[in-house]
Amino acid sequence: MKHLIQLTVNGQTHDLVTRAERTLLDVLREDLGLTGSKRGCDLGACGACAVLLDGRPISSCLTLAVEASGREIVTVEGLAQGGALHVVQEAFVEHGAVQCGFCTPGMVIAVKGLLDERPHPEDAEILEALSGNLCRCTGYVKILDAVRTAIRRMSGGRGCEALAADGSDLRPSQATRDRSGLAAPATTRESRA
C-alpha cells in the first residue's frame, strides 16, 4: 500500500509517495539521493544509518518512512552550514577520527545528538552514547579524542590546536586515554641512532 508522506530533511520539506514497508533509510538514500547515511547492517546494530529524528539520534534502517512523516530529520548532509563544518565534523577531521569513513556519518550524528542534549558529558557518557555505533577502523581512540575536543570547543574552551602551538603533538587526551594513570611515553624512538 502506498502512502503520501511529508518529510522535513535538513530543513527542506519533501512530499513523497512510498510503500509502507520501506524504511526511512531507503527513502533518504533512494528517493532523496541523500546517500550520506549508510546501510551497514540493516538491523539497527551498527549505527551507520543514524539520523536525528526530532533531535534524537535513531537508526533510520529500523524506522519505517511512514512513521517519520511530519517529523524533523537531520542527516549528516545537514550539519555543515554554508560550507563551514560543524564543530564535531571539524574535530573529527583534525584528530584523524576518520578512516574508511563509512561509520563516520552515523558517528557524527550520534555525537551531535549527545552534545545537543548534554553539552558537558562525562567520558563514560560519551562511551555509552556512541556504543551503538560500530567502527572497524579506528579502535575508537581518535573518535573519542575528537569528541572531547568538540566538547571543549563548543563550551568556548581551547581546542587541540592550542596544544599543538606549543610544539607538542595533536594528542590532547593521552592522559585521559591512559586509564592506568601512567605518564604517556614518548611516541617515537630512534632505533640504533
Partner: protein, 334 residues
C-alpha cells in the same frame, strides 16, 4: 533482506487502534518503536500484514507519580525517556537501570518500554533471513513443524530476552491493557504465556498502554543486573532483578527475584526467594545461594556454555540481592 508487503494504519485514537487490531485479528500487530518489529519484517517472519501504528495516538507517554506514591509510566514512552526520568531513577532505580541497558542508545531513542515488555522471543533458527532459513524446513515459530533447539520434546523454547520486564516483575508492577472490552490491569508476570511461539498472554486486540509500579514498601530496594557479551547493543545473556524488603532487624524479610534470558518468559525464582526470606543479607560471592540459583534455573536452551550461565546466575542473584539490600538500608536510614 526480505520485505513483506504490509498495510499501514495510523489511527489517532486508542479506540481506533483497538478497533483495527480487532478487525484484523492475528493478521495485525501494533507498531510502536519498531526496533523489534522492523527486523522481523525484514527477516520475513512477521505474521502480521496490518501494522497499527501507535505513533499518532496522543498520550500514554507520560511518567508520573501515582496517588499511592508509586509510578505510572505510559507504555509509549521510549526506553530513553524511562532511563533518564528523574522520577524513575529515584522511585525505581532497578527499572531505570534495565531501561538504560536495553539495546543501544540509538534503539532506546525509538524503542518504547511497552515494546520492550512485549518483545518477541528469540532463537538462533528464527531471527534469521529468509535465505538463511531456506537451509532447512521452517521451524515452529516460523509456522513450520519442527524445533531444532529442543528436538526431543519438539517444543519451541525461544528465549525471552527483554531487560525491563525482569525489573518490573521484581517490584510487582502491573500492566494496563486496553482492548475491545475496555481496560484491565494485570501483574506484568501475567502478560506472559511461557510459550516460545506466542510469548504474550494478552488478547490480540489488546494494547499495552501503561505500567503501574506500586509505592516501594519501607526498607525496600531493588536492583537490575545485566550480563551480556558487550556492554551495549546485545541482548542479555542473563538479566537478574531483585527486590528486597528488610526487617527492622536488618535481615531479609522478603525478596522477589526475576530473571530474563533463561526461558520463553521472564520468570521468578521462588525457591531462591523462599531461601532468602528471614536470612541475613548474603555475603559477596555466597556459594550456597549461587548453587541454589543455578539449580533452580531448570533446563537451559540456546546457551553455548550452560555451566557458565548457571554459575553466572548464582553470582548475579547474590549481587542483585546485595545491591537491593544496600539500597534498602540507605533508604531506611535516610
Amino acid at each position: 533482506m526480505t520485505t513483506i508487503q504490509i498495510e499501514y494504519h495510523a489511527p489517532t485514537t486508542l479506540a481506533q487502534a483497538v478497533a483495527l487490531l480487532a478487525e484484523h485479528g492475528a493478521a495485525a500487530a501494533p507498531l510502536a518503536g519498531g526496533t523489534d518489529l522492523v527486523p522481523a519484517l525484514k527477516y520475513g517472519v512477521l505474521r502480521a500484514r496490518h501494522l497499527v501504528s501507535l505513533a499518532r495516538i496522543p498520550g500514554y507517554r507520560d511518567i508520573a507519580t501515582t496517588a499511592e506514591g508509586g509510578l505510572a509510566i505510559g507504555a509509549f514512552a521510549t526506553l530513553a525517556d524511562v532511563a533518564r526520568s528523574p522520577l524513575v531513577r529515584e522511585g525505581c532505580p532497578a527499572l531505570a537501570e534495565a531501561a538504560a541497558q536495553a539495546g543501544s542508545p540509538l534503539l532506546r531513542n525509538r524503542g518504547t518500554i511497552g515494546g520492550n515488555v512485549c518483545l518477541d522471543t528469540r532463537c538462533w533458527y528464527y531471527n534469521q533471513t529468509e535465505a538463511w532459513r531456506a537451509s532447512r524446513e521452517r521451524c515452529q515459530k516460523a509456522s513450520g513443524e519442527r524445533c531444532y533447539v529442543n528436538p526431543k520434546q519438539n517444543v519451541c523454547v525461544a528465549l525471552f530476552s527483554a531487560d525491563t520486564p525482569a525489573a518490573l516483575i521484581a517490584v510487582g508492577a502491573r500492566a494496563t491493557l486496553a482492548g475491545p472490552a475496555g481496560e484491565r490491569t494485570v501483574p506484568v508476570e501475567a502478560l506472559y504465556s511461557g510459550d516460545g511461539l506466542r510469548p504474550l498472554a494478552k488478547g490480540e486486540a489488546e494494547i499495552l498502554t501503561g505500567l503501574v509500579l506500586p509505592a516501594p514498601p519501607g526498607r525496600s530496594g531493588a536492583a537490575y543486573l545485566k550480563h551480556s557479551a558487550r556492554e551495549s547493543i546485545d541482548f542479555p545473556l542473563l538479566g537478574v532483578a531483585a527486590a528486597v524488603v528488610l526487617s527492622p532487624g536488618g535481615t531479609i524479610a522478603s525478596a522477589r527475584l526475576a530473571v530474563t534470558g533463561v526461558r520463553s518468559a521472564p520468570c521468578r525464582l521462588p525457591e531462591v526467594e523462599a531461601a532468602l526470606a528471614g536470612r541475613q543479607i548474603p555475603a559477596e560471592g555466597d556459594r550456597e545461594l549461587g548453587r541454589l540459583t543455578a539449580r533452580s534455573l531448570g533446563a537451559l536452551f540456546l546457551t553455548e556454555a550452560v555451566p557458565h550461565k548457571r554459575h553466572l546466575a548464582g553470582l548475579m542473584v547474590v549481587e542483585a540481592v546485595t545491591r537491593a539490600a544496600r539500597q534498602a538500608q540507605g533508604r531506611s536510614t535516610s
